[in-house]
């Protein structure tokens, strides 16, 4: 694929203290974000968390109440959407029903480039080849499947070689298998065109597989920004831990600190040692203890279901649920009123019976402390939403 110099890199996008309010409700509340040039950045969050509003602010469909948006260090506050040189893929694809595939893909060229007719035809053919739809150029959108429409929408968004591509839950309407196929496809296209991508999704696994950087949004604010593995391994709050991946969040109280070793007491009385928290905390504070299910290992316990100081990092509970998932067993272990999840190897899971007393242990450093207040910290005004 020929890549001319002007499209070799994507745009750098900066959001500066963006605010957008509808009536009493803050849709986007003081959002600041740096999107590096050429990166694939996902805005991830539950519905109503402000991710689509943020995207529409970048596109220019909405005007921020406060704050600024800089594309390549230039404020776009006074630039209407059609002059922002952005490509966009909509959730419903939004292909023009009265135009053929080729006309849809050629639309941005017709509107904004000074290409000759022959050059435009060549570019359209190039884009259709990129999304592997060359044979369908004369069809109308309604004659295509959902996945094909999705590809046409990609081709249309990229044809004028925008430096920024916005995608609003583009795979939401596809079934699981096609979605996974398109995820790979979108990554491949992103690598080949080098455009900066801002991708909105509520699907955490989609964000984890596709993104260079994930922005977790919660209640109109940014909860955390980081690369996928960092968000998974070191979530800053219970919300992020819970939203990204499977997690055990155990309510606990800080009991004591000896050097780098912190001791907390779980709800049922078990004492657990952890590394120091990444936030300011002191003895007596309520915290969450995070342990990922796949970090748990199991062994039989002869003792009664209770804490055992001498054995260090482990919790004893009663096996309540066991389900087979092919490669792993998922276990549900009751610890007082809480149910802990563990994901263990096939042979480990098979060794236990439901109702049996079981000891859960975990790798050193797998247990992390998170603030109990989490992201609700000082955001009482948005809690009303």
């Amino acid at each position: 694929m020929d890549r001319s110099a002007d499209t070799a890199s994507g745009a750098q996008v900066r959001l500066r203290n963006l605010c957008k309010t509808y009536g009493q409700t803050a849709a986007v509340d003081d959002v600041s974000l740096d999107v590096p040039a050429g990166a694939f950045v996902s805005l991830l969050g539950p519905s109503g968390s402000g991710k689509t509003t943020t995207l529409n602010l970048i596109a220019g469909f909405l005007t921020p109440d406060r704050g600024d948006i800089l594309i390549d260090n230039r404020s776009v506050a006074d630039v209407p959407p059609h002059k922002r040189n952005i490509g966009m893929v909509f959730q419903s694809y939004s292909l023009f029903p009265h135009m053929t595939v080729a006309e849809n893909v050629g639309f941005p060229l017709r509107m904004r480039s000074k290409l000759t007719r022959a050059d435009a035809q060549k570019r359209i053919a190039e884009m259709l080849a990129l999304v592997q739809l060359s044979h369908l150029s004369a069809r109308y959108p309604r004659q295509l499947s959902g996945g094909q429409q999705q590809r046409v929408a990609m081709a249309r968004a990229l044809v004028s070689r925008p430096r920024l591509l916005l995608m609003d839950e583009p795979l939401g309407a596809l079934d699981k298998k096609l979605r996974e196929q398109m995820q790979t496809e979108i990554r491949r296209i992103h690598r080949s065109v080098g455009t900066t991508v801002v991708y909105v999704t509520h699907d955490q696994s989609e964000a984890l597989t596709m993104s260079d950087l994930i922005v977790v949004m919660h209640r109109a604010r940014i909860a955390q920004i980081g690369p996928p593995n960092a968000l998974y391994e070191t979530p800053a709050s219970a919300f992020v831990a819970d939203f990204i991946g499977d997690s055990n969040l155990i309510e606990a109280t800080i009991m004591g600190v000896v050097g780098d070793r912190w001791t907390v007491k779980a709800g049922n009385g078990a004492l657990i040692h952890t590394a120091p928290p990444a936030f300011a905390a002191s003895v007596g504070d309520r915290v969450f203890l995070l342990i990922r299910p796949e970090d748990m290992t199991v062994r039989p316990s002869t003792s009664e279901p209770q804490a055992s100081r001498e054995q260090g990092e482990h919790i004893v509970g009663v096996l309540k649920e066991r389900s087979f998932h092919g490669d792993v067993f998922k276990l549900g272990v009751a610890l007082g009123s809480e149910m802990l999840k563990a994901r263990v190897a096939r042979e480990d899971g098979a060794a236990f019976e439901v109702g049996q007393s079981i000891a859960l242990t975990w790798k050193n450093g797998a247990a992390r402390l998170l603030p109990a207040t989490g992201d609700d910290d000082g955001s009482g005004r948005s809690a009303a939403t």
């Binding site: 059609h82 952005i86 490509g87 939004s94 009265h98 509107m111 109308y140 916005l166």
Partner: protein, 292 residues
Amino acid sequence: MTAIAEQAPRAKSVQHRQAMPALLLLPALVWIAVFFLLPLVLMCWRSLAAESYSFKAYWIVFSSPLYTKVMLTTLESASIATVLALLLAYPMAYTLTITSGILRGLLLMLVFIPYWVDIIVRTFSWLILLGDHGLINVLLRKLGIVHGSLPLLYSEFAVLVGMVQILLPLTIVVLFGAMLRIDRTLIAAAKIHGASGWNAFRTVFFPLSLPGVYGAALLVFVLSLGFYVTPALLGSPRQTMIAQTIMVEASELLDWGQASAAGLLLLIMTTLIAAIYNRYFSLDRLWGGSDA
């Protein structure tokens, strides 16, 4: 055997489902049969019986220069009124689609209020406005723009003004309904991909609104063909439309056979126009697909 046994109850429920719509249609069908089809048959019979069971009454309609002229006037007035109504209604309907909430409600009220006023009342109000001593002429005289008065009333102009005013609310509502079905994110898609507001309208919104325009055009045109009160009150004899002629035949000349023949021909012509029009402006073709 078991397969048949299993299918039997399903076949029964299918029958039920087919019987249901027929039952629901029945009241309307009975109404149409008694108050539309029956009179139509009677008209047909009368038009033939009047001239000792021949098509002579029909021949008169075709051969008389009076009917030809009236018919041409009718087609002309209806066509012009339709085009004018569409031109005036389109911007209003578009405005309705881009407004929302209280403003849209208010605008819709403004559209509907005249619609609720009786046609005769609305037509009479034009007499007051357009007459020699009407508001417009008086104003123009007071401003010294004209001496004497403009011959506004009893003209094609007056008939068209009256017709368009009566047709407008319906045209607006039909266009508005069609425009509401246009997905607004398509406009956003056009804009983000480089289309200015005008270009987005020109290349996306307008083409997608055309099926609605064609539908409204047919509806309004067919309605215009049957106008009676407006040309009768606001026009001169030269603006006579077919409904007036039929009325004169029936109520003044008492030639019911002739009136029936003319009426039936108007009905046939209208149906033909609608059928031909539908063939050329079918929604399928406009949408470029098969299931519009």
